[in-house]
Symmetry: C2
Subunit: 440 residues, 2 copies
């Protein structure tokens, strides 16, 4: 870790948010690409430049339901003096063989069907009598109900130019064109394009598998009875949902009791399905802080970046943090504090960018903006700590929600932004311009 | 359908985008709520007002690792003249029994642990000698390595006020408070709050199950060989991905050949897992437009709103559209045109709002904005049709991508916005202000 060497000996050193994030992002690497089925690749980052193997459309085809004709045969045609043509058959989409359209002839053609040999243009059915011998029609009768529509005669009421209502082969993309560049995030239209050019699978970075564990002997599963001194486990739920929202496949292990050996074996068990591990709780200075106890000694001394380092950060909430890698594959592990708001803010600042780095995304950070602080009173903030307060943002203004206490999980559920008070400021006055992280 | 009666007899009537959307949204109803496990409810809309059953925190507890003390015992304490207290035991989080803290006594306490009886405040461990008899310490030694820390004596270096470093019972939320209102969308912090108050399951509207079928005998599965006159099925992929992105659980049935009986039986088969069906292709005026043929007759005449109605809309792309309900449960079905861009634009305009209505969301529409048209030449648009062109939007400007052709799927994959040219305009000049739909 680039910043680790400098301060490692100093237990009381407060690391900046940037230093910690930098160390995390310097260690976390994008996952190795795999070939996935198209719909499994939704939201993933493409790692190959995709070239068009076959031109789209792959053949000249009709853009209308109508009649494929020769231009000379319908020159000067009008409703009063229609061009009468012999219908030599149907050209439906997906039909392998097409009739030849000779002089004085027409083939009834459907949208998307290949322009048959001999034909030069398509006349929309609405410009004809549809073969019924009367006035203009609004559409064709269904083949199943009126098979005679593919034969007989048709009166054409208007002339057409060559290539009219014909979509030319390759007019969308040509064989050899770049369809999508490496780095593209695959949303619905990109998946549509890949399918259209015949790609059933595609090479992408997979969604990271993130295992979330909360620690604490006081934690009880929701819907269970609370005993004396117990609280409900909420972190594993909130962070699992947040990891998913960031793009990961998240596994909730739930709460592990404050026993170093249990925690260590649970984490070792989970490594097989983890691209990253996230723990909450047990990282502070108490005598039962088992995450610290269990993981401080797991590093391989010979391996740079191996092992978990615990730090104090110049931020509030979220002062105690752990980060490093664990197990034979050096799986990244982020150890967050246990207070619900601390863990959630830590997730936003550190885990989310790490997940998005694993995905191969370039834009790993939440958007930030400047906003006017809308508040009855000044916000206070401890000197030397960057404070992240919960707020709601709208129209250039941000309003604090709840107080600074890191246990205020109810307020968090009503916030959509974090208000940032810098390390050097001990207060933010109403009407001041402040930095805001938009939680989106 | 409110607008249906007016125009039903007139085959050539062009319906407006608004009329069609209004009819769809007047028919589609939010799904019946069900009780879901918390993490299964992510992204869903809550249908109950959730009340806090038990105050948070449920008991007075420590916000620091330190020592629980009586205020009088540490009055006037300093590093030079520390208050020496007898350590009567540990109070760890989750511990059912706490020691009584009498005069001259202290209990070592961990963050989140209940304030023990007799104690009035918490002194952070950093304000003490940690029981080691030397200067201030930066933390506690692990209980497992140094069990003697729970006994002996501790020197306290600073006084505290009553309730210092104590989080009061109910300071986050109180029993009986409203935690979340009906209508809340459950994101990670809301799920965290529900877990924190002990809710393991919650009553929400489920994600709609949307079945996507494309129709066309010319369609081939990606990765297969293209025969003469064939193209790859892309609509079922793009719309499946789009339905998911809108919040649905999407099932891709894939391509069905242009045979009315096959289509009808496939749709009947799928009804069991569908809250909504979406088809593409076969809705225009051709002789092989099987969706129209298969579904025009399925309505129950006695049931208002039953059956599928096919219409022409005053829009480009996306003129032919079908909508109605089908089967014993009157499952909504939207029949979209088959050109890839037509079907995608139709999805955005009609299917996405329908999916979000099924979810019980209030905000069902894509955001729109006004933007300056950045283009070398004027955009042309047919009179009487509202045109939706693909574009990229940034900083108040929108730039067209590709042309107006509805087969331009490659251009669609590089767009992030739709440029709207109203029915009455036949062109949009460079520099003009235009309406833009942001595809997000």
């Amino acid at each position: 870790m680039s910043n680790a060497a400098t301060h490692a000996a100093d237990q009381d050193h407060l690391w900046s948010v940037e230093e910690h994030l930098e160390d995390i992002l310097a260690t976390v690497r994008p996952l190795e690409p795999i070939e996935l089925q198209l719909l499994d690749a939704q939201g993933c980052v493409l790692v190959e430049d995709v070239t068009v193997p076959v031109s789209l459309p792959p053949f000249d085809n009709s853009s209308m339901d109508g009649y494929a004709v020769r231009v000379a045969d319908v020159a000067g045609a009008s409703e009063e003096f229609p061009a009468a043509l012999t219908v030599v058959g149907d050209v439906a989409a997906g039909q392998a063989e097409q009739p030849f359209v000779g002089p004085g002839q027409a083939a009834r053609i459907m949208t998307g069907a290949p322009l048959p040999p001999g034909a030069e243009a398509v006349v929309p059915v609405e410009w004809t009598d549809g073969g019924l011998g009367e006035g203009p029609v609004s559409g064709m009768r269904a083949r199943s109900a009126a098979p005679e529509g593919a034969t007989g005669h048709v009166n054409v009421h208007r002339p057409v130019q060559a290539r009219a209502h014909v979509r030319a082969k390759g007019s969308d993309v040509k064989a050899g064109d770049h369809a999508l560049e490496a780095g593209t995030i695959l949303g619905p239209p990109q998946i549509g394009l890949l399918a259209a050019i015949g790609r059933g699978t595609v090479r992408v970075r997979p969604r990271p598998r993130v295992v979330v564990l909360s620690t604490g002997s006081e934690l009880v599963q929701p819907d269970e009875e609370l005993g004396s001194g117990q609280i409900y486990d909420s972190n594993s739920f909130a962070l699992c949902a947040a990891a998913r929202a960031a793009g990961a496949i998240a596994y909730r292990v739930g709460a592990v009791a404050d026993e170093a050996e249990t925690l260590r074996s649970t984490i070792e068990d989970q490594l097989v399905r983890a691209d990253m591990l996230v723990t909450t709780g047990g990282v502070s200075v108490g005598a039962y802080d088992v995450v610290k106890e269990a993981l401080s000694s797991v590093g391989d001394e010979d391996e740079a970046g191996s092992g978990i380092e615990f730090r104090k950060l110049a931020m509030q909430p979220g002062k105690p943090q752990g980060f490093g890698s664990i197990g034979p594959d050096h799986t990244p592990l982020l150890a967050l504090p246990g207070n619900p708001v601390s863990s959630y803010v830590s997730f936003e600042l550190f885990v989310r960018p790490a997940i998005r780095t694993l995905m191969g995304l370039e834009d790993v950070h939440r958007p930030t903006t400047r906003a006017t602080l809308k508040s009855d009173k000044a916000l206070s903030s401890p000197a030397g700590r960057r404070q992240f307060l919960r707020g709601t943002y709208a129209n250039g203004e941000v309003t604090p929600v709840g107080g600074a206490g890191s246990h205020l999980v109810a307020a968090l559920a009503h916030a959509d932004a974090l208000i940032v008070v810098p390390e050097d400021d001990t207060s933010a006055e109403p009407g001041a311009e402040v930095e805001v992280v938009l939680l989106g």
